[in-house]
């Protein structure tokens, strides 16, 4: 939500509230579910439930919503045609022709994400190096 910080938010200088301005409310631009064209009447919950597969058609036809059922049946017939549409045949060949000729590059992960493998020999070497470094530092400090 964007706050209008320059606004006096309906307050006048003596602290009393100013009457709310008349006119349409400011549109909410950041709604998660934006409003589409507004329906004159909302669809009955039973129709939504039927369309969501939660109610059988017979249960909705008994109610006042039988007109809505007809409407959505007609629309579904149309959408069934869309469901049968296939990709035009030339598209697959077009895509294959447009692909780079070389194999896709292997993913390069940064060093800190790579697997860290330590063998017993490496562990011995690192241990010996640490002991040697420790004794050198101790000898220097003791002097």
């Amino acid at each position: 939500m964007h706050e209008d910080l320059s606004s006096d938010a309906g307050l006048v200088r003596d602290g009393r509230k100013r009457p709310a301005p008349e006119g349409p409310a400011r549109p909410l631009v950041d709604r998660e579910v934006p409003l589409g064209p507004q329906a004159d009447r909302p669809l009955a919950a039973a129709v939504h439930a039927w369309l969501d597969g939660e109610l059988p058609e017979a249960a909705v036809r008994k109610t006042e919503s039988s007109k809505d059922v007809e409407f959505w049946r007609a629309l579904d017939t149309e959408m069934a045609r869309v469901r049968r549409l296939r990709t035009p045949q030339h598209v697959e060949a077009q895509i294959m022709a447009a692909l780079p000729t070389h194999a896709p590059a292997a993913a390069i992960s940064p060093w800190y994400r790579r697997e860290f493998v330590i063998t017993p020999a490496t562990a011995l070497l690192v241990g010996a190096a640490l002991v040697a470094a420790g004794s050198i530092v101790t000898a220097l400090l003791v002097r």
């Binding site: 579910v33 004159d40 369309l51 149309e78 598209v91 697959e92 294959m96 692909l99």
Partner: protein, 189 residues
């Protein structure tokens, strides 16, 4: 029982996709054709309904598969879900660009008149009106409606693919239905 079978089929399909991906990564470029033929139809329908234009849908599909090929080594999880997100984002980017480029939304975001001959035979008046009504919906409502009613996906699957909640998607689909009915019922109810 049906659900178990469907899950088993999905697992098989996913394992098979992974094998194909390994083939392609090993340098067998032609194996990618199998992934295209497996998934192009539902992806094409999604792009067609989102953009309203067969030409744009073909372009989005082509660019998406090229992108998928280039980044194939980055696939984590199911290939079909991953490539769907590429196509869905491609459609949304196209819709955003069309608005940004100062072209008239009414003129340019409408279904193309250049339909394929097969499609032309199939196109009814209701279909044309439905396409126009869909084009007038905000992209997120259109996307949710298409995924539910054209692609026949469950809300859970949609939530998984779009990274949002089932509640938000139900709300989008409900709003889309009411908006479409408001636009079309005078003529068809």
């Amino acid at each position: 029982m049906k659900t178990t079978d469907a899950i088993a089929a999905n697992v098989d399909q996913d394992a098979s996709d992974q094998l194909v991906i390994q083939e392609v990564l090993a340098g067998h470029r032609d194996a990618f054709r199998l992934l295209i033929s497996r998934y192009s139809d539902p992806l094409y329908r999604h792009a067609l309904c989102m953009t309203g234009s067969p030409d744009v849908a073909e372009d989005v599909l082509q660019l998406s598969f090229i992108k998928a090929y280039q980044h194939l080594s980055e696939v984590r999880g199911r290939f079909d879900a991953w490539v769907f997100r590429i196509v869905a984002n491609g459609c949304k980017d196209w819709l955003k660009n069309i608005r940004r480029s100062h072209l008239s939304y009414e003129e340019d975001d409408q279904p193309s008149q250049q339909a394929t001959p097969d499609e032309e035979l199939d196109r009814t008046e209701l279909r044309s009106d439905l396409d126009r009504a869909l084009a007038s919906l905000p992209a997120s409502l259109r996307e949710a409606f298409i995924m539910k009613h054209v692609e026949g996906r469950s809300y859970e699957e949609m939530a998984d693919l779009l990274g949002t909640t089932v509640g938000a998607l139900k709300m989008r689909v409900h709003r889309a239905r009411e908006a479409l009915q408001a636009l079309l019922e005078e003529k068809y109810a």
